[in-house]
């Protein structure tokens, strides 16, 4: 089944590697956004199956973007996976309370990223 994933990250390299990975290995459709603001707009319009959201971004960071996505009736149902280089136990609890579906860690392995997402979201296919 072809999935549609929205990647929100201010880092060009990370966006491109993740997109290449999900498109090439899993055959999924990928939508890109380089900021939280752009990500919220694209999520509302494109209605992806899941959102991969970077934590550390300028202007609107990942947690703030997550809160806005969950507060918006058009996007609140879309599962959000946070992508972060490091996370403390207290942050994990905070993110869980904010409604995050899973936390994935940078650096990710491009060969297995789709499988990680599928596993985290309980999707049957593994890419």
């Amino acid at each position: 089944m072809t999935r549609r994933i929205l990647i929100i990250d201010d880092e060009d390299d990370i966006r491109q590697v993740a997109a290449m990975s999900l498109e090439t290995i899993a055959g999924w459709d990928v939508i890109l956004a380089n900021s939280g603001k752009q990500g919220i707009e694209r999520a509302s319009k494109e209605q992806p199956d899941a959102i991969l959201l970077d934590v550390m971004m300028p202007e609107m960071d990942g947690p703030t973007t997550l809160l806005k996505l969950k507060a918006n009736g058009q996007t609140s149902h879309i599962p959000v996976l946070l992508l972060t280089a490091k996370v403390h136990g207290s942050d994990q609890r905070r993110f869980a309370e904010m409604g995050v579906a899973a936390i994935l860690f940078k650096p990710f392995d491009p060969l297995t990223l789709a499988r990680q997402i599928s596993t985290a979201l309980g999707w049957r296919e593994d890419g």
Binding site: D12, I14, M20, I25, A85, K106, P107
Partner: protein, 134 residues
Amino acid sequence: MVDPLSKRDETVRTAATLPPEAQSPEQKLQTMLSALWERSRHTVVERAALLQEAGKLWTNDRLDEATRLRAVDSAHKLAGVLGTFGLPRGTELAREAEQVFGQPIPPSKVEIEQLLLLLAELTSLIDRGPVGSR
């Protein structure tokens, strides 16, 4: 214990010898990642150079706050991306640098010397690039 990176390196070497139409999705991805690394290399090199410059300024006690914060940001970004390109040691080194530059108390001379060694290794590693990138 199987080293997943050795499997990845094997995939990279195999991909380099096959035409695109004969490559598996994994091999195609490795070919694309190698091309992306070449396009991104200058940004990575610039970030590593900024870290080295900040480290040198620290040895002379001339590191200002803005440069220190830029160093923390650069180290964080390098930590996030190098392992993804197949340089896990680069991620380790960048994380250590991020920690040192990010600590509230200025480091001792010994810590700065260790930092400079670490940054030299990071720069050398970036210069060599991941397996299959050349």
